[in-house]
Symmetry: C2
Subunit: 392 residues, 2 copies
């Protein structure tokens, strides 16, 4: 489009801002660190004007201005069920503006010019209480299971599950939320109307039907590695916390965790077998980067909730029927030999109780089939030995 | 034995102390909290004298004095290849005296009167650089594998592996150390000449042949639950750190970890699948009790070594051949679309490089079979897409 087409027009400030931002979302790569420096402090209109001025050193962007056709993009988006949400809109998720501060210039930083959104929900409301579940594409069955399980559990409590729409952990997280008719959002590294990976297109349609597809790239854009990296910052910034389920040491999920940390969000990691390369990244986050080890929905709710709410009840030991025993009975039981029988006086001495008391307690324990008697004395029954993990 | 048999005899102080301690090791249950209070500040001889005095309130112990036959115990031990090591002996492991401070009266605390030892090694030297590997009896195959693997790795670096001789994690740890002809010590809750569990008796013989079997209980004693709990404090106190491999929420291994903490030793926990009950205890230790998440021998060595030695090299990412690429080539590659081809000018704009530079870089990348060209432009090759975890 030509510069004049989006020059100031009195009385149409809102539309003009949207059009300029849409144009910039095509001209400037997501999170381009050079753009952050070049256009620091400028409004979108001022940025556009500077690009149009032919000032030196701006070629990398100005050469793309001819491609920008924001009104066509907005129409095309509308036809594909998408809209372009910008700051000032009621559904703009203000928490994303943390990106104005977070990050370093060497990373793909900054607040996006706007978000292209597919789906009917109110973006701000849907993201208000949300958690990111991210991880490896090439995940294990265990990782997929864990992601789906945590996602469905979170969705069940009304938390929106945000992920990146990729194969593996991402898809499992979205599916987990959908499986309980929960809310889920995919933040994409391509246009919100583009299905990448293609074989997830049915999943994207399901997400759009009840949740949202979000991108800072205009319709039709395809993904690059740089765009995946830039996209990660949006996932981190819009959510209350990022849960890394499985990630190898070189994983985009660690980049997401880094963004979450810089945005001041909770960083959580799900452990796995130390024999699995796919869990190395999550273990590294706990060990070296202070992520919270996470094994349950309760852990996640605790991490994202105001202090004191949703405290995880540790240790969540299953109720042990032996806890119901009288204290002296319990002490007697603890003093009964596992295998080689002993008589009451010996057990009394071990337990530190009188022989009379112990005699009574031993009878109670025998009634409960916890101990047995032979001519050499008392010992645990095979059943009780087994229940303690001893060989029968 | 009668009191006079172990009454003071001039010129035989050492022998007398050993005999009195042997007698007390039979009369007083390991770590008996009531004994800690009743005999606080008394020497073994003073304790014995008090017990012999018929003073009131000491029945639970004095009734057992008739059973004590320390000289017979010492002979019987010698016949079974055992000796009784006491404070003052060259091989007494002085680090165990931390138990004089650690623990609460409600627990089975205190420094043992002596240690009955089977095996030829010098107890103090063998334990000088040692780590405990403990966990559930009813462990998973994963846990057994992890325990054996960590134990053999530690033993390979000259660290002694200490455990409790039980089924499951304990046995796997001992076997792991033995598999590399390493040093291992089993601290038992029964006499050092008693094989419990019986089916581990071949294992105990192997341990005694190259390592040590240790107990504070005299020969012939059989285990009780209280004795297992008391034994755990010895494992924690004699080692530089305790590694919990697998443990349910109600596990003796958590008791061991608690003792290690109170003794100021390193507490380490090995993660596992969140779907496994057997890993719940280890995860709890990391999350709630500040244990160090441990995935490798290097992690353990770092935790038990003076600060700065044996630093684990995190992140231990495998060398990526792409790291060898020139920076501009790398940036070009990152800007090439995953799937939908783009021409050089577009890629140059995404990468933030000149079109000329990008043209050269694209040729290099094509030579490396990382990208491919068709009439619509450049994109990643299926091979490279797959290596990034994208669908081919």
């Amino acid at each position: 489009m030509t510069i004049t087409e989006i020059a100031p027009v009195a009385g149409h400030d809102d539309d003009r801002d949207r059009i300029v931002r849409a144009a910039l979302s095509r001209v400037i790569e997501p999170g381009d660190p050079a753009a952050l420096t070049a256009f620091a402090g400028l409004s979108p209109q001022e940025t556009w004007d500077l690009l149009s001025s032919g000032a030196p050193g701006l070629d990398r962007w100005s050469t793309r201005m001819d491609e920008a056709a924001p009104e066509r993009d907005l129409e095309r988006a509308a036809a594909a069920g998408c809209r372009f949400v910008i700051p000032g809109d009621a559904e703009w998720p203000a928490q994303i503006e943390v990106l104005a501060e977070a990050g370093q210039l060497s990373r793909r930083g900054g607040v996006p010019y706007g978000l292209w959104v597919r789906g009917e929900g109110n973006l701000c409301q849907v993201l208000e209480r949300s958690v990111a579940i991210v991880g490896a594409r090439a995940c294990s069955q265990y990782g997929e299971h864990a992601a789906a399980d945590l996602a469905s559990g979170l969705a069940d409590t009304g938390v929106t599950v945000v992920s990146g729409g990729a194969y593996g952990i991402d898809a499992a997280a979205h599916r987990g939320a959908l499986s309980v008719s929960g809310s889920t959002v995919a933040v994409l590294a391509c246009g919100a109307n583009v299905s990448y990976p293609r074989s997830n297109s049915a999943l994207f349609d399901r997400i759009a039907a009840t949740g949202l597809l979000v991108s800072e790239l205009p319709p039709g854009c395809s993904p690059t590695k740089l765009r995946f990296l830039a996209r990660n910052r949006l996932i981190a910034a819009t959510t209350l916390g990022t849960v890394v389920v499985e990630a190898a040491i070189r994983s985009g999920a660690l980049n997401s965790a880094g963004w979450a940390e810089q945005c001041g969000r909770a960083v959580l990691a799900v452990p796995g077998p130390i024999t699995s390369r796919m869990s190395e990244g999550a273990h590294l986050l706990v060990r070296e980067r202070n992520a919270t080890l996470t094994t349950s929905v309760a852990d996640i709710l605790e991490a994202i909730s105001p202090i004191g709410e949703h405290l995880t009840a540790y240790p969540h030991a299953p109720a042990d029927p032996l806890d119901a025993l009288d204290l002296e009975v319990r002490r007697t039981l603890d003093a009964v030999p596992v295998l080689r029988p002993a008589h009451a006086p010996r057990i009394a001495a071990t337990a530190g109780l009188s022989v009379e008391t112990v005699q009574e307690c031993l009878e109670t324990l025998a009634d409960l089939n916890l101990i047995e008697y032979n001519s050499s004395g008392w010992r645990l029954t095979p059943t009780h030995r087994r229940s303690l993990g001893h060989p029968a």
